[in-house]
């Protein structure tokens, strides 16, 4: 292996001498590093299971050289311009590097300020405690539930179905109710009277008769209750906004022109 590299090294050196001899300096110099070649050859070996022969080595290196030439010619022709994907990758790479550079713990005043500015984020949603009778859509849920709501006020036995996700729900918020019972059901819960059997209410699984026994108001917690979370969120925001700050810093140096008359 070493010998082959040496051979190319010598060839390269000869070319280099000729190059100097012709006194032809410009940006048309291509240096292929040893490691570039060895890593390609190792990759070749791990694919094919043997060392490449001389012809194959020549081809690998030739391909590498040609790729580099095409790359440079493409740059000259400006093929990297106006290419969304190339731009986006470069932009992503820069923002990624910027994000990495933040890691200082915020002071307690900064935490307080952040908390006060973002109170909504820490709002504890209202919570409901309810029980329900379920009537499966597999078994005539509409009629049975309509009968049941009358029976329940007539103190009669209710013949309902078990619900796979359970019967009693304690201190659950509307999001959780939505995930378990669907959007329209959670909307009905929201406007429902307490301590009273109400129904039938439709869900994707059938009909329900619902009894809400407790409602806890939503509230804004004290900062001490959520301090750690505030810190996490502030650090996260800083990581996210590092790129924004960088942009603001540098954006003023740019003039941006957009055609105000463009219609589409």
């Amino acid at each position: 292996m070493k010998n082959k590299i040496l051979v190319f090294f010598i060839i390269g050196f000869v070319l280099y001498l000729i190059d100097i001899g012709l006194n032809n300096y410009d940006d048309k110099e291509i240096f292929i590093s040893d490691s570039e070649i060895t890593s390609l050859i190792t990759a070749w070996r791990s694919q094919v299971g043997r060392n490449p022969n001389d012809d194959e080595v020549a081809r690998i290196i030739n391909d590498l050289v040609q790729e580099e030439i095409l790359y440079r010619e493409a740059l000259k022709l400006g093929l990297d311009q106006d290419d969304r994907i190339i731009k986006r990758r470069l932009a992503q790479k820069l923002s990624f590097l910027k994000q990495e550079s933040v890691e200082k713990l915020p002071s307690s005043q900064e935490l307080k300020d952040f908390f006060n500015d973002n109170k909504e984020k820490y709002y504890i949603e209202p919570e409901y405690t309810f029980t329900h009778y379920f009537f499966s859509s597999e078994n005539n849920s509409f009629d049975r539930s309509n009968k049941a709501i009358k029976d329940i006020y007539g103190n009669k036995q209710i013949n309902a179905d078990p619900f796979l996700l359970g019967k009693n729900f304690v201190d659950v918020n509307l999001n959780k109710i939505k995930n378990d019972f669907g959007e329209s059901f959670s909307q009905s819960i929201k406007n429902m009277e307490l301590n009273k059997w109400v129904g039938p209410i439709k869900s994707p699984y059938g009909h329900h008769i619902v009894f809400i026994s407790n409602y806890k108001n939503g509230y804004f917690p004290e900062i001490s209750m959520v301090l750690k979370q505030v810190e996490i969120d502030l650090l996260q925001l800083r990581r996210d906004s590092a790129i924004q700050e960088y942009l603001e810093e540098i954006q003023s140096e740019y003039k941006i022109y957009i055609n105000p008359e463009l219609t589409f």
Partner: protein
């Protein structure tokens, strides 16, 4: 003089002999690494408590439910810290991953947004343990390690001309060369760092391309992020990583995800550099457990293991024994049955009588270039269950008595679970329909793809079909799957981890189908319409993942109950899959019984099949027949072919009505017809962990076959 010469010959001889012995002993072609492995890389046993002091929301924690709730999550997620994620153009962090799971939108490397329809209950970031954080450091030219020559290929990885389609060759090449040990080069044998590695009990220190500090800080960040996002009662995270190993000879995939029970974890992950043998991983887990740190590991992509994941012999080719079985089950109670890279339930060649066996089959070995066929036998879960029974029959213990989960294996931090909104998993390589082969390539992309495949000595991977030329890079065998689900009292680490341990879990291909499964005697005495159904079933029977012991030779009965996902298609049927060893012939057998049918239909007692419920899919717009299918299915079932002496397992498969596959959605959205040769529709499904029926101690004398039994293991 002569004395000295003899001494030198002796030393050299001893050295060669040691290497030789080590090679034979640990079965690894990297003698020096092997030598270190004998030291067990003890540095990976140091325990660190990564917990953050979190007081959040302790006041809004829901009440535990003794009848247990189903919780859904993903235990297989990669971020920028995985060596290949960075190669795939991924720069999103573990924090991004957890925010996605909680319902926020995150960005795909190609720039579009990914968002869940509803948040998940738990999530575990599991980056590749080996070289964790390293590739990112190579690419960042401000780090010291990036100045080394081995880091150079990564410098220009995302360089100007690296477009999506045509960079496939190079990107895959780097992926393979990392796995193929191009940069895993140890220092030369005389180097002082080798001694240092030896004395610090850390094999990784022997590698030139390894920087322990970068590695540790990446791991610490993974742990920090998990602990910060863990919100007991509402959202659970686990510290975890992927142990990415394979067999030395044929590249059989032996990947496993490891998750930690609490905020305590080892100072670094145990990786394939410590050992490529999964049995050594279990030893490490056992030793951590002695120190009070519990973990479980979960194999995945057995389908791409070329029969190695569920072998009938050990990694080194020895006979399996009770000790092996116990060790494996102690550490690996669960297996990931489905994910983006295909489903590993069973294969049409293994289960020719199962009409649903040809489902999301991926038939190549993981990471193989060029793609190489993966042998079905030994690669699928159902056969492993049967082989486990056979091993138990020959008194070798049952190492294949695992429960089931699904997960996604996403490499872009976001699970892709929805067929109609699919981004696959490897970022730039398969993030758009052209690249993943569901719509024809544009002309310029055809030429580029071919050129690059040629440049990297790969077969030309395009194919010309009726509608044009398609990328044929294997991504068509991938899909939008899967989810892990567990029945637990509450959404906390303790409660979920306990559910994983007792295997009270099920897997789905993405939708949130939920399924209850109980086995026992006289369960038909329970009223299926009673509110106390679940609590009675728990007290009278056993649930998924458990053993059902013979009880006076009674015939077992099973209660099965499934609820649809309100955002997916209605249910079509529930099946129970039974596998057993026939005591007369010694043969493993399997059978699929439809036990509950939608729309009030009944299974045919002869064929055990539900009649067609008439559900169809319109391939032109992916609409499905309305008013067909069930929102829930529920029944009690008695095995009509039960034999008291046959060891058996039973698991549930719930099928939805058919819907469009992602490849059909892709094509329709781009104005094409679905690509020919691919399944146009799929039936999303859920699988429960099995219940194992344990007969009375057999009076039949099992005569061990030569060499397969070690006498000390016979009771």
């Amino acid at each position: 003089m002569k004395y000295l010469r003899n001494l030198i010959i002796l030393i050299v001889g001893l050295y060669i002999l040691t290497l030789g012995l080590v090679y034979v002993d640990v079965y690894d072609s990297r003698p020096l690494i092997s030598l270190f492995k004998k030291m067990q890389s003890d540095s990976a046993l140091e325990v660190v408590d990564f917990s953050v002091d979190s007081t959040k929301n302790s006041n809004s924690r829901p009440m535990p439910n003794k009848d247990r709730n189903p919780y859904y999550g993903d235990l297989h997620v990669h971020t920028k810290y995985s060596f290949d994620a960075y190669v795939f153009g991924v720069t999103a962090s573990p924090d991004d991953a957890y925010r996605y799971a909680k319902g926020a939108a995150v960005k795909h490397p190609l720039g579009y947004e990914m968002k869940l329809r509803e948040p998940l209950d738990f999530y575990a970031v599991t980056d590749h343990g080996f070289y964790m954080g390293m590739i990112q450091a190579y690419a960042d030219t401000s780090t010291d390690i990036s100045q080394n020559d081995f880091a150079e290929p990564f410098h220009n990885l995302n360089r100007l001309d690296n477009l999506t389609v045509e960079s496939a060759g190079e990107r895959s090449n780097i992926f393979s060369s990392v796995l193929g040990a191009t940069i895993i080069k140890p220092y030369p044998d005389w180097h002082p760092n080798l001694l240092k590695a030896y004395f610090s009990r850390n094999t990784q220190g022997a590698l030139r391309s390894f920087d322990y500090d970068i590695h540790k800080s990446a791991w610490a960040d993974v742990a920090r992020s998990a602990n910060e996002h863990n919100d007991p009662g509402n959202f659970t995270t686990f510290i975890g990583y992927e142990f990415t190993t394979s067999t030395d000879i044929e590249g059989g995939n032996l990947h496993r995800n490891v998750i930690f029970e609490s905020s305590k974890a080892s100072i670094r992950p145990w990786t394939r550099i410590d050992s490529i043998n999964p049995e050594d991983l279990w030893t490490w887990q056992d030793r951590l457990r002695e120190k009070g740190v519990d973990t479980i590991s979960m194999p995945h992509n057995s389908n791409g293991s070329n029969g190695q994941m569920f072998e009938m012999e050990s990694f080194k080719g020895n006979a399996l024994d009770v000790e092996y079985a116990e060790k494996r089950m102690r550490n690996e109670p669960l297996v990931e049955i489905t994910q983006v890279k295909g489903t590993s339930e069973t294969h049409p060649l293994l289960s020719p009588d199962d009409e649903w066996a040809d489902f999301e089959i991926m038939d190549v070995r993981v990471g193989s270039r060029p793609p190489t066929y993966s042998k079905p036998s030994g690669s699928y879960v159902r056969e492993a269950y049967l082989n486990g029974l056979t091993l138990e029959f020959t008194k070798q213990g049952n190492p294949y008595k695992f429960g089931l989960i699904g997960s996604s294996d996403t490499h872009v931090v976001a699970s892709s679970l929805d067929e109609s909104n699919y981004w696959s998993k490897v970022g730039l390589l398969d993030g758009d329909p052209e690249n993943r082969g569901s719509v024809p390539l544009k002309e310029e992309n055809v030429a580029r793809l071919e050129e690059y495949m040629r440049a990297f000595n790969q077969p030309i991977s395009t194919v010309t079909l009726e509608q044009g030329e398609y990328a044929n890079t294997g991504f068509t065998q991938w899909g939008a799957s899967g989810l892990a689900a567990a029945w637990a009292e509450e959404n906390t680490r303790e409660s979920l981890f306990a559910a994983f341990r007792r295997k009270e879990t099920f897997a789905t291909t993405g939708p949130r189908i939920s399924v209850r499964f109980f086995g026992g005697y006289n369960l038909s005495s329970i009223d299926l319409n009673s509110e106390s159904l679940v609590s009675e079933a728990y007290s009278k029977g056993v649930t998924m993942g458990a053993d059902l012991l013979n009880n006076d030779d009674q015939i077992p009965e099973f209660i099965v109950w499934a609820l649809r996902d309100m955002n997916s298609a209605p249910l079509q049927r529930i099946q129970i899959i039974k596998g057993w060893i026939d005591m007369n012939s010694g043969r493993p057998k399997e059978k699929v019984f439809d036990v509950a049918c939608s729309d009030g239909l009944e299974p045919d007692p002869i064929t055990n099949r539900c009649p067609d419920n008439g559900a169809r899919v319109n391939i032109n717009d992916c609409s499905i027949t309305s008013n067909v299918g069930s929102s829930e299915l529920k029944t009690v079932w008695k095995d009509p072919e039960f034999k008291v002496d046959d060891k058996a397992f039973y698991y549930v498969r719930v099928l939805e009505n058919p819907t469009c596959r992602w490849s059909t959605w892709d094509a329709i959205k781009s104005g094409f017809k679905p690509r020919e040769g691919l399944h146009e529709t799929i039936q999303e499904r859920a699988w429960s962990s099995p219940i194992w029926y344990i007969p009375k101690q057999s009076e039949v004398e099992v005569i061990p076959l030569g060499g397969t039994i070690q006498l000390r293991n016979i009771d």
